[in-house]
Symmetry: C2
Subunit: 137 residues, 2 copies
């Protein structure tokens, strides 16, 4: 059986700079921060990817993310903004397969950003793509 | 008074490709998609930024995001993964000041990604930065 580094942190079998914990969620510093104060908020139950989560755990995770994000914004770090980021599957840049949400404090000139390749074709397909999603809901 | 484009969509005063709606949240296609199927999920109540939200609305938004994300993954679009992204304040790349969460389906070679400038100093400050956030919680 493979061990999960986030389950080990939750079970106190691996060290981490934990900053918040409740019944459903735990938040700790990312060991490869992209900006000062970058942290991860994680459901305590092991879900491989976000879309494996149940609705209650997802709701609780985001409520906790809100609390932690407010603390980050009010902290001495004094970020001017923040980003939330979640990666699902390797094609979505997920590296650790225990669902996690990044909270990334933002500062002018911090070098963090998005790489985007817009396509006119994608824009023209808006109605068609919407219908493909509506069909499933 | 400034009008809010997302409030106009919610009130059916501006057109949008709406794909999901419940008591708290609404989801519609992003008119500048970064990949096929890119959509936004938005609280119906007007919050300027994420950290202005209340916990109930935040929890409901993320539960709805889970439902919609599952539909996206199961749809004919057949994405291989997805990203969630939220921007707070201009320093965090927010452009429309009604809190919104991006759901971005991902496909190999779609050109979407992150720009990151890691710094050793940030890494070395982990404990200090953790303490600055813990203090507020």
């Amino acid at each position: 059986m493979n061990r999960c580094i986030f389950c080990d942190i939750i079970n106190r079998e691996s060290p981490a700079e934990i900053i918040y914990e409740d019944e459903f969620s735990i938040a700790f510093m990312d060991i490869n921060p992209v900006t000062p104060g970058h942290l991860l908020i994680v459901p305590k139950k092991h879900f491989r990817v976000f879309t494996d989560m149940d609705e209650v755990s997802a709701g609780e995770l985001f409520s906790a993310a809100l609390k932690v994000s407010r603390a980050v914004r009010r902290s001495e770090l004094k970020p001017e903004g923040l980003n939330l980021f979640l990666a699902e599957e390797s094609a979505g840049m997920q590296e650790i397969f225990h669902c996690h949400l990044h909270i990334i404090p933002r500062y002018s000139g911090d070098g963090f950003g998005l790489k985007i390749k817009y396509s006119d074709e994608t824009k023209n397909q808006l109605k068609i793509n919407a219908e493909k999603i509506r069909k499933i809901l």
